[in-house]
Symmetry: C2
Amino acid sequence: MKCSKPNFKIHRRARLSSSSSSSSSSCFSVSAVVTKEEQETLGEISSGSDCFNFKAYMGEKADRVNRALDESISVKTPPTIHEAMRYSLLAGGKRVRPILCIAACELVGGDESTAMPAACAVEMIHTMSLIHDDLPCMDNDDFRRGKPTNHKVYGEDVAVLAGDSLLAFAFQHIASATVGASPARVLAAVGELAKSIGTEGLVAGQVVDIASTGAKDVGLEQLEFIHIHKTAVLLEAAVVLGAIVGGGSDTQVEKLRKFARCIGLLFQVVDDILDVTKSSEELGKTAGKDIVADKMTYPKLMGLEKSREFAEELLAEAKQQLEGFESYKAVAPLVALAEYIAYRQN
Amino acid sequence: MKCSKPNFKIHRRARLSSSSSSSSSSCFSVSAVVTKEEQETLGEISSGSDCFNFKAYMGEKADRVNRALDESISVKTPPTIHEAMRYSLLAGGKRVRPILCIAACELVGGDESTAMPAACAVEMIHTMSLIHDDLPCMDNDDFRRGKPTNHKVYGEDVAVLAGDSLLAFAFQHIASATVGASPARVLAAVGELAKSIGTEGLVAGQVVDIASTGAKDVGLEQLEFIHIHKTAVLLEAAVVLGAIVGGGSDTQVEKLRKFARCIGLLFQVVDDILDVTKSSEELGKTAGKDIVADKMTYPKLMGLEKSREFAEELLAEAKQQLEGFESYKAVAPLVALAEYIAYRQN
């Protein structure tokens, strides 16, 4: 099965094991059985001196991304719009997208500093899509990450404009702040990022998602379209942008694109699984958000067990794309990020 | 008075005359007295064999811009969002911004084809700002150019997303479709365009405009801020993008930037004058939109006569920036466009 064109034919596979010796990166390989206990081992398994310490890596990278985001937008005139942009951009989150961008850049031999403007730009686009998706005319969400959504604090007008500003500023930031990459590469990054937002990316996913919410006849193809466009495409952009500005060859960029497509879809399949698992575990409390919203999900469509198998396949396929990259140290973050996406609990 | 930092000290000046011989481009110089009759002469004065035919020029350029816009976005899956984008993008209009872009490119020796993607991108951004400004949470307009606004036809959710898509696609289009310019120049164009949209451009203008509507203490400085950001900055981007991709020197680009700042502010001053003039002429009909919306305007702040004088000064200052460009043929379109902006009736 190729992530570039998944055929969704599910094969029964032996589950990855925490003691698996067949893994090319056994040092940080963890069980595919999604339990809280096992997920918590993710940081611990990296305690060996030769091993990659994923927890420390994520912490350090996220700190530097947060600092770069903070510095990218200061409060100037007019203050309200800058505050609104910063409110959502600096609201926390794991910074998975920017870290993927940096990791891909470093994998192909580039510096973190070269990837940072692109990494921040990807997070600006992600934030912008959340602000607009939360609007009353769309998903009408009052809270995001435990805080009132942007329009609840600043009003709908400013929220729309804060999203627009972040969208535009992402391109301004890449174009003006990237150092250590040729203009041709930076321009290619601009094109890739732009493509991930519009009718071939986030917007397409949101349009079809809105149209299919509550519909009874949503099939696997449509579900896949939504997830690929709402989630996978921006993760793909994050990785590809990093690889491009980092100086990756065409072959490297395309291998990393395939890797990103797999983990992008994986991200959403796991999201759907978590939504069901949580609601099952928390019986008597609020049911899963997708169920409430009457949204189609992988577990609904193919069952929980087959969804998990599909997730395993995507993870394996993602890892396969990383074969051929020489340095263990450089490949470790992306493998660990893929596993983190597979085994996360929120 | 410099457009880069207008001091708004109004001097009494002799009005430009249709028979003025002092104009460096007397062939298409027209009276600054804004009357319908005189405005209509704009096309006719160019009938001499050596003269520049502005009407024909605008018609031909607009046709090619419309064709390029039409070809830039076709209806693909998902159809609704593409239709919504095309509905507003192809709704007509004079295409002043893209033609300014092309004219600036040709003035510095570039080809129309090199400027066309940037010209279309500027129009996409203009269209996006109209779609979002018309939303119920902003200006709440039901009609635009005699047609129902985007959200009245496609719903608020799709209208927000159509704007987002156009914003992103503008960058995708410049990055992928520009030929005949180096990546460094195209990247510089990306940065300039992005800057004109966010908190240093359109968004800043709209935020302050919303905040000051109905306020009693709006001064000249605030009015200028709104107009420069809501209107002038995108006109500046149009001209500067054309000059950059066309291969203009730094000096040429900066002269054209000053030219564009003057005509950008001029555009809005004339808009304000027309709003008052029309409402005065059409007594008994709907009053001027700015008056209804209780918006501050130049005529309100400095009176009609002084506003007209200010418009004349801006036009003179704009024309001054074009001195030093050698070719009469190449400079003619920008002079005529500046005069068109000064003397238009709608």
